[in-house]
């Protein structure tokens, strides 16, 4: 069925096989190298992501702490502001009270004689 190869033909066929082996070997090596490159990239991506998660946590904590610190400061400012306003209000109340007392004193001095006259008159009238 098959034609018997001549020795020359045999040598040629063997050469071709060897060449094809070499080609396949180079391709497989290249693919293996390519896979390594891609695998390394995925490995690097995982590392980047892990690092990002750690960094995200750190930054989030820093942002949170900073906002809370500012809030505490603002709350303290609010407390001081309210205290100052109330101190002013208390001062105004005390001033008004003293003014009112002074006014009463002055009116009482002015009207003392009239009040005395009424009281004396009534005291002697059953």
């Amino acid at each position: 069925m098959f034609k018997k190869l001549t020795s020359k033909e045999k040598e040629c066929a063997q050469g071709w096989d060897a060449t094809m082996d070499e080609v396949l070997k180079r391709i497989l090596e290249a693919e293996s190298e390519a896979r390594k490159i891609v695998d390394n990239a995925y490995e690097e991506a995982r590392r980047i992501e892990a690092e990002a998660r750690s960094l995200a946590e750190e930054r989030a904590r820093a942002v949170y702490d900073e906002i809370m610190r500012r809030a505490e400061e603002e709350a303290e400012r609010e407390v001081r502001k309210v205290e100052e306003e109330m101190a002013q209000e208390i001062k105004r109340i005390e001033e008004r009270m003293l003014m009112e007392m002074g006014k009463l004193e002055s009116l009482a001095s002015k009207n003392l004689e009239k009040a005395l006259k009424l009281l004396l008159m009534e005291a002697l009238r059953p």
Partner: protein, 218 residues
């Protein structure tokens, strides 16, 4: 290593280069996506932390402000009430001062003839209230020495009332500023016309009238 024929070697190099280029491209893309994702992770975490912190911060400020406001409002209300109480107390002191002054003045008034006349009028009024009869009159020590003629006064009252009136001066002096205490010995009724008694009975009305007069601006 087997040396390949030149045309085949060129094609193979191209193929290998293509495989390597594709791998490098894919690697670059994987890294780029990873970097993008990393940025996104950081951005989202920071935004979430910011949102949560701002919500909590606003609650802290609101709560603190509300606490201090409530506390201070209560303090101010107490001070306002205290101030009002002090003003009222001062008013009372000024009214009391009028009474103290009046007492001093009364010491002078009771030495006058006008007072003597007033005392007789008070005595007559007391007898009218008791309806006559035998009446004991209690005066203070000074007024006992005024020498009131009780017989004459009793006569006048007897005529006025149309019934007998007998006035007896109590043996013991009364301990009051002025005025008198009259006691019906038959009916066992007593009327207190001492200055202290009169002022005490009129106290509520007098206090209010004196306050009105004392603090009037007109």
């Amino acid at each position: 290593m087997k040396v390949l024929p030149m045309p085949l070697a060129g094609d193979l190099d191209k193929l290998v280069n293509a495989i390597m280029s594709k791998a490098e491209e894919e690697a670059k893309s994987v890294i780029a996506r990873a970097k993008e994702k990393a940025e996104d992770i950081i951005k989202k975490a920071v935004e979430e932390a910011k949102r949560e912190a701002e919500k909590k911060a606003s609650e802290i400020v609101r709560k603190k402000r509300s606490e201090v406001l409530d506390k201070k409002k209560s303090e101010v209300a107490t001070i306002r009430v205290e101030a009002f109480r002090k003003v009222l107390h001062h008013k009372e002191e000024l009214i009391k001062r009028v009474f103290e002054e009046a007492k001093k003045k009364l010491q002078e008034v009771v030495k006058t003839k006008e007072y003597e006349q007033r005392l007789i009028e008070m005595l007559k009024e007391a007898v009218r209230v008791l309806g006559g009869g035998v009446i004991e009159i209690k005066l203070n020590e000074r007024d006992m020495n005024l020498g009131l003629n009780l017989t004459v006064i009793a006569g006048e009252l007897s005529r006025e009332l149309g019934k007998p009136v007998e006035l007896r001066l109590a043996s013991e002096p009364g301990n009051f500023m002025g005025g008198l205490v009259a006691k019906s010995l038959e009916a066992r009724i007593e009327v207190d016309y001492t200055i202290e008694g009169i002022v005490e009975r009129k106290w509520e009305r007098l206090r209010s009238e004196i306050a009105k007069l004392l603090f009037s601006e007109t």
